[in-house]
């Protein structure tokens, strides 16, 4: 596959990779590079991974292997608003499963899915370490604490600015 580097990746990312390649053990920066790409585009597309592999001179298969190994990386685009329910132990004990059910039925999607209109994505995250305020939900990186299933419609409306 021909890769047009100029259009596939942002200039800023190409510069970041170039800087990494100047250092000792350049290929060890793969995870950081993929993190930058995802930060910019919201997910890792095949083209992104191929371009990274090409510039860093790493087999595409290995880039793909890394991208699929770590939970942090997403291979599909996300909705405009990202809702994540913490599934750490403290949150679980305090009823996060019921909060999750409420989000699922309110949005009509399962974990890892995006609503048809592309507005919301639903995820469960690993422990955020905010156990004292469990159960915890993050919407677009804003942390909401001690969430109850009853608050779910309100949180969704708030996110939509209604």
């Amino acid at each position: 596959m021909d890769v047009n580097l100029e259009t596939t990746l942002d200039k800023e990312i190409i510069e970041f990779i170039a800087a990494c390649m100047q250092r000792e053990h350049p290929r060890s920066y793969l995870i950081s590079v993929l993190g930058k790409v995802q930060e910019k585009y919201g997910y890792l597309s095949r083209q992104h991974m191929h371009a990274v592999a090409h510039i860093m001179r790493i087999p595409t298969s290995r880039v793909y292997g890394v991208a699929t190994f770590y939970h942090f990386f997403r291979l599909r685009p996300r909705g405009k608003h990202q809702i994540s329910i913490c599934m750490g132990t403290a949150c679980f004990v305090k009823g996060a499963d019921r909060v999750l059910e409420a989000f699922k039925s309110e949005l009509g999607i399962d974990i890892g899915e995006t609503t048809k209109d592309g507005i919301f994505s639903l995820d469960n995250t690993r422990c955020l370490g905010v156990c004292g305020l469990a159960p915890v939900v993050t919407i677009n990186n804003q942390v909401y604490s001690q969430v109850t299933p009853q608050q779910v419609p309100e949180l969704i409306n708030k996110t939509l600015g209604r």
Binding site: H25, R27, S28, Y29, L30, I31, S32, L34, G35, R62, G65, V66, F69, Y70, H71, F72, F73, M87, G88, T89, A90, F92, V93, K94, R98, E101, A102, S105, E106, T125, R126, C127, L128, G129, V130, C131, G132, L133, A134, V136, N141, V143, Y144, S145, T148, P149, Q150, V152
Partner: protein
Amino acid sequence: MGKILDAFMAVKKRLLDDAANTLSSAPIIIQVGSATCENAAGAQEVRREFEKLLLASGRADIFIKQTGCTGRCSREPIVGVYLPDQFPIKYEKVTVEKVQQIFQQHILGGQPVVPLILDKKTSRMYSWVVTFASLSTVETDSASRWNEKFKEHLKIHGVPEETIRSFIGGCLGLYPAGKEGNKVGMLVFPEKVVYEFGTEEDLARIIQSHFKDRKTLTSMQAEIDPLIKRFITLYGDVAFFNKQTRLTLRNSGIIDPESLKDYVANDGFEALARVLENGQPQAVIQAVILSGLRGRGGAGFPTGSKWQSAVDNPDPVKYVVCNADEGDPGAYMDRSTLEGDPFSIIHGMALGAFAIGASKGYIYVRAEYPLAIRRLEYAIRQCEDAGLLGKNILGSDFSFEIELRLGAGAFVCGEETALMLSITGRRGQPMIRPPYPTERGLWGHPTVINNVETWSNIPVIIRHGAEWFARIGTEKSKGTKVFALAGKIVNSGLVEVPMGTTLREIIYDIGGGVEKGRTLKAVQTGGPSGGCIPADLIDTPVDYDSLAAVGSIMGSGGMIVLDDEDCMVAMAKFFLEFTQDESCGKCVPCREGTLRMLEILERITAGQGMPEDLDKLERLGNLIKKTSLCGLGQSAPNPVLSALRYFRSEFEAHVLEKCCPTRKCSKLIRYEINPEKCIGCTLCARQCPVNCIEGTARKPHLVIQERCIKCGNCFAACKFEAVDRV
């Protein structure tokens, strides 16, 4: 003083010269928390409000300071107020509305707002607060006896008892009883004087002089460790902290985590400067070995021996790594240290690097902790600018740099061989040990990997001495351990106690007991690698060996309190779901075995369990433990096996009677509306997310079972107890 110490003092002086807003020199300080949890609770808004009021007041002698987490998660945001010559006061659950009152009444007016004070234990303003030091259960008894005697003597001397609050506290860094006969340590506030005495005559003399004549009896004064004295001084009289001994968390909630100046002002980097001046790496290793420090990541390997084996390796290139991949759900001790005191980790790693001869270090931190990452990056940059990291540190021959590497959400990367692979940019799949990382580590060179809490202990050991450190804790588990207390507990938060403290002390004396007055069922320690400890073993002391003996592990420090409403089968399934999902897939026992175990548990919680399932779970679990490649698989069955060991009858109820005794497993319960109690208020129907409750106003309602998702909203909403969970 030598050349290097001179250089350090110059750095310190430069940093402190413009340090108008450090605790030591400023007249009035307002401390506002700024960790992830504090921010989630609204600390940033509170801080902005204080800034607004401060600006309006035009006062130049008041300073607002951000700190890390105080560890009182359920009471956040926490605001500390320090007025000269007054008890330090911590306020809980501060909102923007409360800021006005605190500012006007306390900060400008000098009168604490009593109803808002943390835990309200200080609701009466005493003239003195007296703490008796204790270190273990035995010594608590002796400290209590002295406390009683103290009260008797107050009466004899005619000092009104209500002017003094006295209680048994942590070890205060003294060595209460034992060292020199039956001496006991006693700390008196607000004078911050420590007395050490062993006879009633001496006690009488102290009372006469201090509390009657109001003169410090210098002849009986003892030296208290400055670290602990400072902590108590800054935290004031809060029961939650009085039983704790904070070494790792010594600066969390006290210093500004984004200020090297603040860290240096509080003894920071002094240990490194002394060690460099001394120029003997072996002395550092000896101190760590003598201290008895064991790895705080969970396995408890002796840190000093690990370092020694790296030193014994002839390879000239060596690395130190900080494992900050705190993946254990329900544990957040490391996040708190990273966010609240990042410099102590850098300091510890620099000491370790000097000791083993490494010039490069990596901190591997979870991507889920964005604030911790930002603070670490900033801390590293400040240290580089000040010449405390980089080439020829403080003019010595020692060069050391630290690089940050981010994890990307893989629990298995907490395993050291997986972590190293992840640092090199690969999939984090563990490798067979040996060779251990100290033999062949990063890029084939010997590597010392310790976790956040372990590194953070190093500066304390070097600064205060191995012997001092080894006095804290038990014979085989030295020092303190931080626990993240969460779940069904009144005071959820971070707790640091000497090893050997019992679960009872942690849960009841510090944690305030089980939430909502419910009954304790079990305590889960060690997260997905650990196990549950039933309520009748609550007097188990927490140290590596005692926890292992009851079938759990110390783990990294997660401690989840479960009450009588929690289903142990569901808990076991929860942890197995986690480890199953996080299994890297490299070895068969972990990849396939945990999946089969999970299938059985899913069957059991769905009411389709078979009688032979329980034995099968046990057999499979033990097999996976014995045959898995790495620690993840070797410990994955623990939550299930320990639940089976202590709560087998609960499993049997699910399997044989197809019922969940705690009504937690949604497939084994249903919600029904009692027509006799239902008045038809329609509240439940309006709360139902799937509209499965039918009925008209003022008539009894009905749950349509086919559509019910068992969310329990109706159960929680009903004000007439008309919804039954059966």
